[in-house]
């Protein structure tokens, strides 16, 4: 850094402050387009190495909108050094953010797994919030949801109910798994929770291919499956039905191409 004049040092600080103020929000694709636009702007400004400069600036989260303040620096003979220093220094923050995001996600998954794996051996009903179970399952399915599936939560305030929460987790897992499979992991998954007539109602709505009406009656039968051999056991929905029956609840389906809704109704006080 001692190679820099005080003016250049100032320019480094300006660049660095600008880079540190950024939190990346763009997708990979968007970043590529922004980098290209930036390259063109730099070329138009008469800078050599426009591609390389745009690449480094882009990695720091800086694009055409930020150019005005840093253009004088880019005309400096020492721009390579200043750019590299700013890239490396701000890189520490980028690495920390990555570590932060990764640990946060790992913590969430561990929490969800612990929740999911815990099994109540007493076989007695307890009071629990069904939305917690749904959220656990959504966390475990994060990898299949993160791209291509928009999850919309329409949760009304619902009370805790007397239930077997671990078994209900299996219900949510099966229904969400089926919904994603029906959509081929692309579409909208809407989960609605409401309270009506002393019952909690959970609707799981997907924008998938739908279930043909002549098949809808049979989907809760054991070993009934429309999936390719090896894809499904045909037991998922029959297990779901058994668990709902155990809770003295109901499960119904309404389906047409492009929309399928599984509705689960559970009494507040159970059996």
């Amino acid at each position: 850094m001692s190679e820099l004049s005080s003016e250049q040092g100032q320019q480094l600080m300006t660049l660095l402050e600008c880079a540190l103020s950024k939190t990346p929000t763009f997708t990979v694709r968007e970043e590529r387009q922004l980098k290209r636009a930036l390259t063109q702007h730099l070329e138009a400004a008469g800078l050599p190495d426009a591609t390389a400069i745009a690449d480094t600036l882009g990695d720091m989260g800086l694009y055409s909108d930020d150019l005005e303040g840093i253009l004088p620096m880019l005309r400096e003979p020492k721009r390579e050094l200043i750019l590299e220093l700013a890239y490396r220094l701000s890189g520490l923050q980028r690495s920390m953010q990555r570590i932060d995001t990764a640990t946060e996600r790992a913590a969430k998954v561990v929490f969800a797994l612990k929740n999911y794996a815990r099994y109540d051996h007493t076989g007695e009903r307890i009071k629990a919030q069904v939305l917690d179970g749904i959220e656990t399952v959504l966390t475990l399915y994060y990898n299949q949801l993160k791209r291509g599936v928009e999850v919309i939560r329409k949760y009304e305030e619902i009370p805790q109910i007397w239930c077997y929460p671990d078994e209900l987790n299996q219900v949510w897992t099966n229904l969400i798994h089926n919904a994603l499979q029906a959509m081929d992991n692309r579409g909208t998954l809407t989960i609605q929770a409401a309270l009506a007539q002393e019952r909690v109602q959970i609707d799981i709505n997907d924008t998938g291919s739908g279930i043909a009406s002549e098949l809808q009656e049979r989907i809760f039968e054991p070993f009934f499956t429309t999936k390719a051999p090896g894809e499904g056991s045909g037991l998922g929905l029959s297990i779901v039905k058994n668990i709902i029956d155990k809770h003295k609840g109901q499960i119904t389906v309404a389906s047409q191409p492009g929309q399928t809704i599984f509705s689960v109704r559970l009494p507040l006080h159970g059996a």
């Binding site: 990979v28 694709r29 590529r32 190495d49 590299e84 980028r94 990555r98 993160k146 791209r147 992991n185």
Partner: protein
């Protein structure tokens, strides 16, 4: 790690080449792409251009664009488990269209059949497993680039 870097590290300075040869990384996880980019840039400097794509479709589109600009594609590092086309299928497609491009798979889910398929049909150069070390990534890329140069030489001779 430092050792691998020292013998591979190129000048960090900004090159003057217009259409630099391209190393392409494909993964649906942005943080993976960012880490790959940082490590590649650190090790191989500005001798190459680094392009990132979030799935196979995005990558194929990008490759078409690269064709237009005339920047040569040397090597692809691809994830396996991605939405849409999986990594083995993607690398096989690439190998059919661009047999000279060196293919590397980087995967967290070791699907033996998919790896075997890619090895067989995409002439897979290396399969790395997540979490990877910078040293093994560097080795895979450096040897892949050497292989590209050698194949090119063979082709010309």
């Amino acid at each position: 790690m430092a050792k691998a870097r020292s013998h591979c590290r190129r000048a960090w300075g900004l090159g003057t080449q217009m259409n630099k040869p391209i190393i392409l990384c494909v993964d649906d996880e942005k943080s993976i792409l960012e880490s790959l980019k940082t490590q590649l840039k650190e090790t191989f400097g500005s001798a190459y251009g680094y392009e990132m794509a979030e799935d196979a479709r995005d990558a194929l589109e990008l490759i078409d664009e690269l064709q237009e600009t005339g920047a040569p594609l040397l090597l692809i590092v691809s994830d396996w488990l991605m939405p849409g086309m999986k990594g083995d299928e993607f690398l096989i497609t690439i190998h059919q269209r661009f047999p000279q491009v060196v293919t590397v798979m980087l995967t967290g889910q070791a699907d033996a059949a998919a790896i075997a398929r890619a090895t067989e049909e995409a002439n897979l150069h290396r399969c790395l497993f997540k979490p990877w070390s910078e040293a093994e990534l560097t080795e895979a890329i450096a040897s892949g680039l050497a292989k590209f140069e050698q194949d090119k030489g063979d082709g010309a001779g």
